[in-house]
C-alpha cells in the first residue's frame, strides 16, 4: 500500500516554456536550454495547470489551502517603486500597490479559484521545500483533504544579486558538479503540486502521479550530511540533487553524497542545468520533475557533471525518488516520492501510513493520522465541534463554515 498522500496534479512554467509539456520534453531527451521568462501570469497558469490535471472543480478548490514558496514575494514590483525613488522620479504608485505577498497570492487565488488558507513561505531559497513541508503537515494534522503547494520565482534584480553574491553565476551556464563549474544560472520559474489524501483522491476517481512518502529537514552544521544519513534509508532509485553549480555548494553536496552513499553513487540527476536555479521555486520544480519521472517511467536526462561518479549504466526506470534542497541559511530538505502501483480502496485504512514530516530540526517525528490526535483541551473547554454528516468528514471541524464556491467559473490565467 502506498503512503497516505498522493500527488494528483502538477504544473510548471520554466525557462523551457510555459507548460509542463515543455519541461517534460527537456527531461526525456537532451535539449537546448530555453530562454522563456516566467511572470506572475505564467505562475498562475502553472497553478491552474496543476489543478486541471488533478481534476479539481470549483467546490474542491474553494476550500483548498495554498502554500507558496518565494524568495522575497513581490520584490519584482517593489524594485520598480524603489527605482523611482533612486532616480528622483515620482513614486510609482502602481508598483507599490503590488508590493509584497498579498499581490502574488491575490493573483494566484483569483486565477485559480483556490480560496482556503493561502500564504507565502520564505526560506532563503528553500521556500518551496518549506511549502511542501507545511502542506504535508497541514494535511497530516488537519482533516483537510487536499492542499496545493509550490513555489514561484519571478525576475528581481535584488534577488539575482543576492544569489550571484552567495552562490556565484557561471557565464558558461549552470553545470552542476562539473569540475570546472563557476556558479549557477539564475532563472524564473513556477511549480505546483496538488497534495491529496489518498482515500479522498481515490474516492473521487483521481489518478495519482506519485505518493509523498516523507519530508525530512535538518539545520545547522553539516545539515546536508546529517540529512543524507537519514534519507538514505529510503533507498530511492533517483536522487534529484540540489546541484546549483555553485563552487562551494556543490563541493559540500558531493562530499556528503560520497560519504553517505559511497562512490560511485547510483541514480543521480540534477535539474538546474536545464531549468536554472529558480531559488524559491527550485524544490517544487524538482518535485514536479520527480513526479513526472515516476508517472512516465523514465529517468530524467539530467546527468550531473563528472565531479560525481555516477553509475549511468545501471539506471533503471525509477520506482522512487528523493529531492534534495538546501538554502542560504544552512537548512537542507529531502522529499521522498514513490510511484503508486496499486490504487487503494477508498477506506479509512488508506489514511495510514501518512508521510513522516519533520517535527523538530534535529529529528524525524512520525505523525499520527488526525483521528489519533488527542483533543488539546479534553477537560478545560467544552467541545464546539458540530456533528459530522455520516461518511462525510467535515474538513473544518472546528471552523465549520465552508466557503461556498463562486457561481461563475474562476477566472483563467491569461
Amino acid at each position: 500500500m502506498s503512503g497516505g498522500l498522493w500527488i494528483t496534479g502538477v504544473g510548471a512554467a520554466t525557462r523551457q516554456g510555459p507548460t509542463l509539456a515543455d519541461l517534460e520534453r527537456g527531461l526525456r531527451e537532451p535539449s537546448e536550454v530555453g530562454d522563456h521568462t516566467v511572470g506572475a501570469a505564467g505562475a498562475a497558469a502553472a497553478l491552474v495547470e496543476a489543478l486541471e490535471m488533478a481534476g479539481l472543480g470549483p467546490r474542491l478548490r474553494v476550500n483548498a489551502a495554498l502554500f507558496v514558496g518565494c524568495t522575497w514575494a513581490g520584490l519584482d514590483e517593489s524594485e520598480l517603486a524603489v527605482e523611482s525613488h533612486v532616480n528622483d522620479q515620482d513614486p510609482d504608485d502602481v508598483a507599490w500597490s503590488r508590493h509584497g505577498s498579498d499581490h502574488i497570492l491575490a493573483r494566484l487565488t483569483r486565477s485559480s479559484g483556490v480560496g482556503g488558507l493561502s500564504l507565502v513561505v520564505s526560506a532563503a531559497g528553500g521556500g518551496s521545500a518549506e511549502a511542501l513541508e507545511l502542506g504535508a503537515r497541514w494535511l497530516v494534522s488537519s482533516a483537510s483533504p487536499l492542499a496545493v503547494v509550490g513555489g514561484v520565482q519571478l525576475e528581481t534584480r535584488v534577488g539575482q544579486q543576492c544569489f550571484a553574491d552567495r552562490v556565484g553565476v557561471d557565464p558558461a551556464g549552470c553545470r552542476p558538479h562539473a569540475p570546472d563549474r563557476r556558479g549557477t544560472t539564475l532563472a524564473t520559474g513556477a511549480g505546483f503540486l496538488v497534495l491529496e489524501r489518498a482515500a479522498h483522491a481515490a474516492q473521487r476517481g483521481a489518478t495519482p502521479l506519485a505518493s509523498l512518502e516523507a519530508i525530512r529537514m535538518q539545520s545547522g552544521g553539516n545539515a546536508l550530511a546529517r540529512l543524507l544519513q537519514r534519507a538514505q534509508a529510503d533507498a530511492p532509485d533517483l536522487w534529484l540533487l540540489h546541484g546549483s553549480g555553485g563552487v562551494a555548494e556543490d563541493a559540500e553536496e558531493a562530499g556528503a553524497l560520497k560519504t553517505v552513499l559511497g562512490e560511485p553513487a547510483p541514480g543521480l540527476a540534477a535539474s538546474k542545468a536545464l531549468v536554472g536555479h529558480t531559488q524559491g521555486a527550485a524544490a517544487a520544480l524538482d518535485a514536479v520533475i520527480a513526479a513526472l519521472a515516476l508517472r512516465g517511467g523514465f529517468f530524467p536526462c539530467l546527468e550531473p557533471g563528472a565531479g560525481l561518479s555516477v553509475v549511468s549504466a545501471e539506471r533503471l526506470v525509477p520506482r522512487s525518488a528523493s529531492v534534495l534542497c538546501t538554502n542560504l541559511l544552512g537548512r537542507a530538505w529531502a522529499l521522498h516520492l514513490r510511484r503508486v502501483d496499486a490504487e487503494p480502496e477508498a477506506s479509512e485504512s488508506d489514511l495510514a501510513p501518512l508521510p513522516e514530516v519533520l517535527g523538530a530540526p534535529s529529528d524525524i517525528v512520525p505523525i499520527a493520522p488526525p483521528e489519533e490526535l488527542e483533543e488539546a483541551d479534553p477537560d478545560e473547554i467544552e467541545s464546539e465541534e458540530p456533528d459530522e454528516p455520516e461518511g462525510q468528514p467535515n474538513p473544518f471541524a472546528s471552523d465549520f463554515m465552508p466557503v461556498e464556491p463562486p457561481e461563475d467559473p474562476p477566472e483563467e490565467a491569461p
Partner: protein, 285 residues
C-alpha cells in the same frame, strides 16, 4: 483546528499589563524587525516555547530596502543575511535554543491570522506565534499607493501568543484566512453565526458589516499602535488580556468582561483573516 492560548505579549503602546508589554528597538536601529521578534520571543520565553511561527506582511523590509537601493544604484552589498525574510526568525530561535519548527509566513495584513491557522497543525507543541511589521521609508512611500484604500501605514508594532496544550489556558481560539471572491459574504455569515461581544476590525471594514447585531461592540484594531499590517496581532493579544481579566473592559469601551471576541484583518485585495477567541469554559463554535 483550534488552539489554546497560554501567554501573550505586545509591543509599544498596547494597553497591556506592564509585565506583558515590551519595548521595541528605536526607528534607527539596524535589523529592527529581528529586534521586534527578539523582544516578543524573550517576553514569552519563560513559558517554554519549543517552536516559532512568524506572520509578517513585509518581513525585514528595511533591510531589503537598503540593499535594493544599493543594487539599483550599482553599489555592492556586503551582507545579505539580515535581509533574507526567514533569517530573523531563524536567528531568534537559535538565540533561545528552540528545537521545534521555525517558519516565517506572509499574507499581507492577514499574515498573523495565517500563522495562527498554521499553528494549529502542531496541536501538542508549545509554540510562539508572533505578528510584527516595521515602518520603513519604503512603507511611507507606499502610503500614497494605499491611500485610496483608506489605509495609513505610517506605524509599526506587533504582538505574540504562546500556544499549547495544558491546564488552565487563558483563552481558546481558532483562525482562518479566506480569499476572494467569496470572502466578505462568508464573513458576514460567519459573524452572524458566531456570537461575539467584541469585534476588533481595521478601518473601513465595520461599515460593510451591516448584519452585525447592535450588541456587538466594534473597536478599531488600530486604535492603540496605529495602522500597520500586524495590527491584528496587537488586537489579539489585547483580546486575550480582556478575556482572562488581566486588563479592564473599559479599555475597549465596554462595561463587562467579554467572553467571546473576534478579530478581523483584511488585505488591500480583499483576503480576510478572522481570529475567534473565547474565555475558558465557553463554547468556541
Amino acid at each position: 483546528m483550534s488552539f489554546l492560548v497560554r501567554g501573550y505579549a505586545g509591543l509599544g503602546s498596547l494597553p497591556l499589563p506592564s509585565g506583558r508589554r515590551v519595548s521595541s528597538p528605536g526607528p534607527d536601529a539596524p535589523e529592527r524587525f529581528q529586534g521586534m521578534l527578539r523582544a516578543l520571543l524573550h517576553a514569552l520565553r519563560p513559558r517554554g516555547p519549543e517552536g516559532l511561527l512568524v506572520g509578517s506582511a513585509w518581513g525585514p523590509l528595511s533591510e531589503v530596502g537598503k540593499r535594493a537601493e544599493r543594487v539599483l544604484r550599482g553599489r555592492p552589498v556586503k551582507d545579505w543575511t539580515p535581509a533574507l525574510v526567514a533569517g530573523p526568525a531563524y536567528a531568534c530561535a537559535e538565540e533561545v535554543g528552540l528545537q521545534g519548527p521555525v517558519h516565517t509566513v506572509q499574507r499581507g495584513a492577514t499574515s498573523f491570522a495565517a500563522a495562527l491557522a498554521l499553528a494549529s497543525a502542531w496541536p501538542k507543541l508549545p509554540l510562539c506565534v508572533l505578528g510584527t511589521d516595521e515602518v520603513t521609508p519604503h512603507v511611507v512611500w507606499a502610503r500614497a499607493a494605499y491611500r485610496g484604500l483608506s489605509l495609513n501605514l505610517d506605524a509599526e508594532g506587533g504582538a505574540g501568543l504562546l500556544l499549547g496544550p495544558g491546564p488552565k489556558p487563558l483563552a481558546h481560539g481558532f483562525a482562518r484566512v479566506v480569499s476572494p471572491p467569496n470572502a466578505r459574504a462568508w464573513l458576514r455569515e460567519w459573524l452572524a453565526a458566531h456570537p461575539t461581544e467584541l469585534l476588533f476590525a481595521p478601518p473601513g471594514l465595520p461599515h460593510g458589516l451591516t448584519v452585525l447585531p447592535q450588541t456587538v461592540k466594534t473597536v478599531l484594531s488600530t486604535k492603540w499602535d496605529g495602522e500597520h499590517p500586524a495590527s491584528a496581532a496587537g488586537a489579539t493579544a489585547l483580546a486575550v488580556a480582556l478575556l482572562s481579566g488581566q486588563v479592564q473592559p473599559a479599555v475597549a469601551g465596554i462595561k463587562n468582561r467579554p467572553k467571546r471576541i473576534a478579530i478581523v484583518a483584511i488585505t488591500p485585495r480583499g483576503a480576510l483573516g478572522v481570529i475567534r477567541l473565547v474565555a475558558p469554559g465557553v463554547r468556541l463554535g
